[in-house]
């Protein structure tokens, strides 16, 4: 790998580990110092490696430099403390030689603990995703702003506030106890799920960035599977959902970044490798008793049915029943809309239209797209009305293009 590829690559893979392991040594209240040290280390790498060529072991070099920089900072901090706090007993100051454990195990553990710290119940869901992207995935404020369709300043402020919260609430950098882990893991899983969806359904036009978001969410979820204490059925179910969805990555958009609907996708472009991985994790997730069946299990099962494009009644009946169960576990507008689509396939369009109009989601452009679809062939003028409403409500270029194309098609049929 060339220098100009290697450093961004290492930044992606090592940044979050380095921050986590330094935070473990400094305490999470000093997270900004840890981030500064790691950023400085990478800056130095750019400079030194460019001049003197690559070190023998670039990763080890990074950790070694970061460790030394941390030592310097802590030493300076000590001197400061000595001057302003003369009351401090001398031997305590002298003995405070910083120890940073760089073993593979400590690095992985620290990163896992960082996941739990960020996904602490005291931090808002929105802030958790921002922090996860920033600290766990090494995304900068600009990339996050791009993904959220926001501006850099807003994101920067949001991140700063969230980090302040970590400090204020004194969130510990540790794995929760075995009795607590299921509850805490719920929040971690929700954040990983949102992170993945942010990439998968993001309004951002930046396709590479979106794919990166999904891959990062999968990498972090995989790290939960690798750890014995966090390798629960629900984690495997979530991983299975991610694999099934990601398998369609190449098929769901054309070269212009325009959306290709599921039924119009070229199934030959679906990744068989990821579908098989999805099946594997679904299998793994099934080793649990009925009471532990989570919404991720049900969504994974739905995603599994979608790996077969055939439009059979049995398939849609199964999907409908899964959505019925999913909604009884947890309501979400997107599940309500998907359920109604499955209802139209299983019980017919007429019934689905009646049910759709009860959903009360008039401000949601997907709601109008669903009704436009259901009315097609039954009442095309209603289809046009709903497409126009959807067009007004949609936020991205890709969606607007897609809806305009649909409008043209339907007016051609009617003409």
């Amino acid at each position: 790998m060339e220098n100009n590829e290697l450093i961004p690559h290492l930044f992606r893979t090592e940044y979050s580990k380095m921050v986590a392991v330094l935070c473990k040594a400094f305490g999470i209240e000093h997270i900004s110092i840890a981030e500064d040290v790691v950023s400085d280390t990478f800056l130095l790498a750019v400079e030194m490696w460019g001049q003197k060529g690559l070190p023998k072991n670039p990763v080890a070099w990074l950790y070694f430099v970061a460790k030394n920089k941390s030592r310097d900072i802590l030493r300076r901090q000590n001197i400061f403390d000595k001057k302003v706090k003369p009351a401090l007993p001398k031997e305590e100051v002298d003995n405070e030689e910083l120890y940073i454990d760089l073993s593979e195990k400590n690095i992985t553990d620290s990163q896992l603990q960082m996941m739990f710290a960020i996904c602490h119940p005291s931090i808002s869901a929105e802030a958790q995703i921002g922090l996860a992207l920033n600290i766990l995935c090494g995304f900068g404020a600009e990339e996050i702003a791009d993904a959220f369709l926001s501006n850099k300043e807003t994101i920067y402020k949001r991140l700063a506030r969230a980090k302040e919260k970590l400090k204020e609430n004194n969130v510990p950098l540790e794995l929760p106890s075995q009795t607590e882990i299921d509850n805490r893991l719920d929040v971690v899983l929700r954040t990983m799920y949102l992170l993945f969806n942010e990439g998968y359904y993001s309004a951002s036009q930046n396709v590479t960035l979106r794919k990166d978001l999904c891959l990062e969410a999968m990498r972090l979820t995989y790290s939960l599977i690798e750890n014995e204490t966090t390798n629960t059925p629900a984690v495997n179910a979530l991983m299975s959902i991610m694999c099934f969805h990601a398998s369609r990555f190449e098929a769901r958009m054309d070269s212009n970044g325009e959306i290709i609907l599921y039924e119009d996708q070229d199934a030959a472009l679906w990744s068989e490798e990821l579908i098989n991985k999805g099946k594997y994790y679904l299998e793994q997730s099934s080793h649990c008793d009925k009471s532990k069946v989570s919404k991720y299990h049900i969504e994974a099962a739905i995603a599994f049915y979608h790996t077969n494009q055939a439009d059979t009644h049995d398939k849609w009946e199964s999907i409908l029943q899964l959505y019925n169960r999913l909604l009884q576990i947890e309501y979400s507008p997107i599940a309500a809309l998907n359920r109604t689509y499955a209802l139209s396939k299983a019980n017919g369009k007429e019934e689905a239209i009646i049910e759709a109009e009860k959903l009360g989601l008039e401000d949601n452009h997907w709601y109008h797209l669903l009704l436009a679809n259901l009315y097609t062939g039954i009442n095309n003028s209603k289809t046009v009305t709903h497409l126009k409403k959807a067009l007004n409500l949609s936020k991205t270029e890709a969606e607007k293009n897609f809806i305009e194309k649909k409008l043209q098609e339907i007016t051609l049929i009617d003409a």
Partner: protein, 115 residues
């Protein structure tokens, strides 16, 4: 939004009349579709429970009888809790209940908090 209990009553069935597992499977679909529809409107507060057919009634003199079938023709088959603005809306939601298709009825009652 307030919460309302929907209680399903239907003709009492003896043990011999109980449906087979296949029949139950077939009977489940309208129920699941109805409850899924309520949940899709975000109006299902609890999926409630189905009740087993055998039971006991304990009277004030502490005499226990098999029941409740001896005195009444209809038995409670199950219940759910829905979210609605008022009793009328809750009753409207109850109109979709599959028990109505087999001659049963739905009792709609507001839940009163303990405080």
């Amino acid at each position: 939004m307030k919460e309302f209990l929907l209680i399903f009553r239907r003709d009492f069935m003896t043990k011999e009349e109980q449906p087979s597992p296949e029949q139950i499977q077939k009977m489940m679909k309208p129920w699941q579709d109805w409850m899924g529809g309520l949940a899709a409107q975000n109006k299902l507060a609890s999926s409630g429970n189905r009740l087993a057919s055998d039971g006991r009634v304990v009277k004030s003199d502490k005499i226990v009888t098999d029941g409740p079938y001896v005195e009444i023709k209809e038995a409670i088959g199950g219940y759910i809790v829905v979210k609605a603005n008022d009793l009328d809306e809750a009753a409207e939601l109850a109109k979709g209940c599959p028990v109505l298709n087999i001659g049963g009825n739905v009792e709609v009652r507001g839940l009163v908090g303990m405080d």
